[in-house]
């Protein structure tokens, strides 16, 4: 089943002579449950692609369909709700709210919706993430790896259609990095969670189901490693 389709995405920054094409006619589609790695050198446009898919940045032209819905046909308000429910974002620098504890950070998308927290899912996540006993810690009381696990928890909490991760291991040492990748793979398997990871680390990319390489805003390679 197709969960995400990107059609002819173009993103131009600046104007006239200074214009930079960060994305230039990118199209692909992703099946539900797929673990996709996007690789490419710095400035190739991978982060832009990810942000556009996640509904935080807007494309200059082209369309993004998620779960059959045209993402950029939505109003601001609907887009916010869409991000809250259908997208899980993971950043290199974790981006946790420093004044909220682990539990609140993880359940943030649910709390924002004003819905009750699914306790079962929360404790299961805590267990999977290896954060048991740390629910009441503040982010600055955790190590980098632990903070990244919290942000993964936040991305997974709402069981979104797609989890997008931008260099999730970029700020971590190799051991912590592998833990994070294992975790992502686990969630991919366990919850049949669609996963798109940006990385420049070949070893991480090789653990994915499919690799898309981007250079100068264009897809240069699209390779399925396993089904």
């Amino acid at each position: 089943m197709e969960i995400l389709r990107v059609e002819n995405l173009t993103k131009v920054y600046g104007e006239g002579n200074n214009a930079v094409r960060a994305l230039d006619g990118v199209s692909f589609s992703v099946e539900k449950g797929q673990f996709l790695a996007i690789i490419g050198p710095s400035g190739s446009g991978k982060s832009t692609l990810l942000h556009i898919i996640g509904g935080v940045d807007t494309p200059t032209s082209g369309k993004v369909y998620m779960d059959g819905q045209d993402v950029y046909a939505k109003s601001e308000e609907e887009l916010a709700i869409f991000r809250r429910r259908e997208v899980g974002l993971i950043y290199q620098f974790y981006n946790l709210i420093p004044v909220l504890d682990v539990r609140e950070n993880i359940t943030l998308p649910v709390l924002m919706d004003g819905r009750p927290v699914n306790e079962e899912r929360f404790s299961e996540l805590m267990d999977v993430l290896g954060l048991v006993g740390r629910a009441n810690h503040l982010p600055n009381q955790l190590s980098g790896g632990q903070q990244q696990r919290v942000s993964i928890g936040r991305a997974l909490m709402n069981a979104p259609a797609v989890v997008l991760a931008d260099e999730p291991t970029g700020n971590l040492d190799s051991r912590a990095s592998q833990e994070i990748v294992d975790l992502l793979r686990l969630s991919n398997k366990k919850y049949d969670q669609t996963l798109i990871v940006i990385t420049h680390d070949e070893s991480i990319a090789l653990q994915a189901d499919r690799i898309i390489a981007i250079e100068d805003g264009r897809i240069t390679r699209d390779e399925v490693l396993r089904k």
Binding site: D57, E77, R83, R84, N95, V99, P109, L111, M112
Partner: protein, 884 residues
């Protein structure tokens, strides 16, 4: 609590310093607003108390109400309570007189009557039985009745053609007094009750006590209704019972009767003040929110990226507003009330003296009404909301992607941050960096500079305003009186009282509480003029600077004519004065006595642009010629039809025949004057003993007065008035308790000062809090930048240099614009004050120095505070730290 409120509260708690400063700002602003609303409610309450004290505490009065009808009124559901007075009867006490004191109206008040009606006891006590009586000022008709004596009155009612007449009906030809009773009263007290007494009446009211054993057919009933708003309906409903009057002045203070202009003025003044306060506070609170929002840009962006809607983000800013308001406003209201309570405690007496014009009146006390508190809270909250509105819109605009990238703040062109090589040379690299920073984040700095600028302008102009105001108030009231009580007449004393000035001084000098007496008779006239060598240089330069060179007709062109005043000093006063000046009494007494001149005055020196004290005459002036004229003859002369046709010499001769020239020898020039004398015309004063003064013919329009110093001015005035009446001299109304009047004026000056300096202090505090908040946050926001600079090797000294340069940038920029603007405002204030009071323009240098000093003090202190907490940072941690 929603997750957004939680994040907001926790963020507020984390940025404790900024939150506290914001709350302080709100406290100050709420306190000032409360001060205004409380002053208003206290003022209205005071007006109520005051009118209740002077007009009586009642809404509606029924006059000559048949006693049995009272129950009808009492049964009405709107009736509250009543103060009643029996109309015992009217007695004829002065049959010759057909106006104000033909009758005495004997009225027996009950306890409530004495409690609520403005009965002022002058002497003795109030009546406590129906056989005791208190007379107005001690008189029954024209007869003075001593306390303790008895009077027998034939009491009845007045009828005109069979109709009952009330005390309000003036004497009418053909009216009839039907006597029904004869009663003997003991006089126990003297009272004054002007406002209770009808204006157009045929007599005066004497008060006795309610007689419960007797059925008096009529009463005056003073009603308090449950709700004063029912007054006029009630009056309408019972208009057939008896004549009635509403207590208009009192009802006005209750807001039942409209008096639009007056209340309009008060409300608009309060509105202007509140507007000013709101303007000042909004700039502080707005800054606080603005900083908070820019500091949380990333937090908002992050929340947006995980799906917060714009509304929810704006909700967070308003949650912040509500939270700080919930703490700040109640504290501010309490502080404002406490502040006004203390203020009124100290100046309440002076205020009520001023407002009540010296009458016996209630003290001005603080009155806190629910409305005043609610209004303060509402206005304070609106102030906070206004302040939060713009930043909340900015917060909504933060897009997720910008926040995550944090790229938006560095969008600059090289040209924009170019610093002059001079800066580089003077302040080194550190200075150049500070300069670049200043230019780069112009917007953020503008907030600081604008808040500094506003503080400077507010402070300096408020100071000049206070200075001008107190100057003019002091100037207007300081026509220096060196005496406490004045007893004065137009004309000479003998014309008015049949007694000479000496005799009057002898009599009144015996009064109690008097410590010094002085008396004189004076008049203004022409003198022969002075030659230039008799005048001082200052006199020629300043006093005669624009004197006509040719002289007026009849004046000698070689002479100059200052204004001239002649005082005839009473013998005792003269003796003392001569002794005080150390002169030989022998030379200064008798018909050949020498006179004394005084010519030391204040004048405006237009060269120096200020007032100077100068003496007009040289000390060697040995005689003065006093020029008076026979005004009757002169008028007659001018009225002659043929006067104009006479030859000039004849005209001259006739004119001269009306003129009198009295040559007076001068013994010395004095620098001081006897008590009560004033160089009122700002010229030359001639002081003479009565022996010489009396010899001057045709003095024209004179003025006589006796001046007293007293150790207790009130008691002394009473004693003087009594003594005057006993000795057949004009009484009470010729005595002016000047001390009392000037006490009111001194009170007003105090009130003006207290209000003005209170305002300045609070405005300065708001300004300081504002600057502190803006600068410290700016420093914290640049944590990462500082860490970077440190990591590449900038030393602490370097940091200090950089920060100093930045402080100087802030301070000078604010002052550069602020001081001229403040001068402009000062000039406008000068213009408006100058319309009413002659004053010279002055630049408020002391306020400028204070402003310059405090601007740099506050700026440097804040920088030091901020830097000291930043210096503890580990550079690497700070660089990694995320500004959330």
């Amino acid at each position: 609590m929603s997750i957004f409120s939680k994040v907001t509260h926790k963020t507020l708690a984390k940025n404790r310093t900024r939150t506290v400063v914001t709350i302080i700002g709100i406290i100050l602003s709420a306190a000032m607003i409360t001060a205004v609303t409380t002053t208003m409610s206290s003022f209205f309450r005071y007006l109520q108390d005051y009118t209740a004290a002077t007009e009586g505490l009642w809404h509606l009065e029924y006059i000559y109400l048949p006693t049995e009808k009272l129950s009808e009124l009492e049964e009405d559901y709107r009736f509250g309570s009543a103060a009643n007075a029996q109309k015992v009867g009217v007695a004829l006490v002065n049959s010759d007189n057909d106006s104000s004191n033909r009758y005495v109206f004997v009225t027996g008040g009950d306890d409530k009557f004495y409690e609520r009606l403005p009965v002022n006891l002058e002497a003795g006590r109030l009546p406590q039985t129906p056989y005791e009586i208190a007379l107005r000022h001690g008189y029954l008709g024209d007869e003075y009745i001593p306390l303790g004596s008895t009077v027998t009155l034939e009491l009845g009612y007045r009828y005109l053609d069979g109709e009952l007449m009330t005390d309000f009906n003036p004497y009418t030809e053909g009216e009839e007094l039907v006597v029904h009773e004869r009663r003997t009263y003991t006089v126990v007290g003297y009272v004054d009750h002007t406002s209770y007494e009808p204006f157009m009446d045929a007599g005066e009211t004497a008060l006795t006590y309610w007689d419960s054993g007797e059925d008096v057919p009529y009463i005056d009933s003073f009603l308090l209704l449950k709700n004063p708003r029912d007054t006029f309906d009630f009056q309408q409903d019972y208009k057939d019972l008896a004549g009635s009057l509403d207590n208009t002045n009192y009802l006005m203070t209750l807001g039942v009767v409209r008096y639009d202009t007056f209340y309009h003025i008060i409300y608009s003044m309060a509105a202007i003040l509140i507007g000013l306060i709101m303007f000042g506070s909004v700039s502080l609170i707005y800054n606080a929110f603005s900083i908070s929002v820019s500091e949380r840009t990333k937090q908002f962006g992050l929340l947006r990226s995980v799906g917060a809607t714009k509304k929810q983000i704006r909700g967070m800013v308003f949650t912040e507003a509500v939270t700080v308001s919930a703490i700040g406003i109640p504290l501010g209201i309490v502080a404002g009330i406490a502040g006004m309570a203390v203020t009124f405690h100290f100046i309440g007496g002076a205020l009520s003296d001023f407002l009540a014009d010296g009458e016996i009146a209630p003290t001005f006390r603080i009155h806190v009404s629910a409305l005043s508190v609610a209004a303060a809270a509402a206005i304070g909250f609106v102030t906070v909301l206004i302040s939060a509105w713009a930043p909340s819109r900015r917060a909504m605009r933060v897009s997720a992607i910008e926040a995550i990238r944090q790229t938006s703040d560095v969008k600059i062109k090289r040209r924009e941050v170019r610093t002059s090589p001079l800066t580089y040379r003077l302040f080194g690299l550190e200075g150049a960096i500070a300069g670049k920073h200043f230019k780069r984040s112009r917007k953020r700095y503008r907030a600081t500079v604008v808040s500094l600028f506003m503080s400077v302008v507010l402070f300096i102009s408020a100071s000049s305003f206070c200075r001008y105001l107190t100057d003019s108030v002091t100037g207007v009231f300081s026509d220096s009186t060196d005496y406490d009580i004045r007893y004065s007449f137009h004309g000479e004393m003998a014309d008015q009282s049949g007694k000479s000035l000496d005799e009057v001084v002898d009599i009144l000098g015996r009064a109690e509480h008097i410590t010094a007496v002085s008396a004189n008779t004076n008049f203004s006239c022409a003198c022969e003029g002075f030659t230039r060598d008799q005048l001082t240089d200052e006199a020629l330069r300043v006093y005669f600077s624009d004197a006509p060179t040719g002289g007026i007709a009849g004046e000698d062109p070689d002479r100059l004519y200052p204004s001239f005043y002649v005082y005839g000093i009473e013998d005792g006063t003269w003796e003392e004065y001569i002794q005080r000046l150390g002169l030989d009494p022998a030379l200064y007494t008798g018909p050949e006595a020498l006179g004394v001149i005084h010519s030391t005055i204040q004048g405006f020196d237009s060269d120096a642009q200020r007032y100077i004290t100068m003496t007009l005459l040289r000390d060697d002036v040995s005689q003065v010629v006093v020029n008076t004229y026979d005004s009757d003859r002169l008028t007659e002369l001018y009225r002659r039809d043929d006067y104009e046709e006479l030859p000039e010499e004849e005209q001259e001769a006739l004119y001269e025949s009306c003129q009198y020239y009295t040559t007076v020898r001068i013994g010395c020039q004095a620098q001081e004057l006897p008590m009560g004398c004033l160089n009122a015309n700002y010229g030359v004063c001639l002081l003479l003993p009565m022996s010489v003064f009396d010899a001057i013919p045709q003095k024209g329009y004179t003025y006589s007065a006796v001046y007293f110093l007293a150790d207790d001015h009130e008691a002394a005035t009473e004693s003087l008035a009594a003594l005057a009446v006993e000795n057949g001299l004009p009484g009470r109304s010729y005595f002016q308790d000047v001390y009392e009047q000037s006490a009111n004026q001194r009170g007003l000056i105090t009130v003006v000062r207290v209000a003005a300096y209170g305002f300045i202090t609070l405005i300065s505090l708001i300004a300081a809090a504002n600057v502190f908040n803006t600068i410290s946050t700016n420093v914290f926001l640049r944590r990462r930048e500082f860490a970077m600079l440190r990591s590449v090797g900038m030393t602490s000294r370097g940091f200090n240099r950089m920060m100093s340069y930045e402080c100087i940038l802030y301070g000078t920029k604010a002052l550069l614009f602020g001081i001229p603007a403040a001068f402009g405002v000062t000039y406008l204030i000068f213009r408006s004050i100058n319309m009413g009071y002659e004053t010279s323009f002055y630049l408020p240098w002391s306020a400028v120095f204070i402003a310059v000093g405090s601007v740099f003090l506050v700026v440097f202190a804040t920088m030091l505070y901020a830097m000291s907490s930043i210096k503890r940072d580990n550079p690497i941690d700070a660089m990694k730290s995320e500004l959330m």
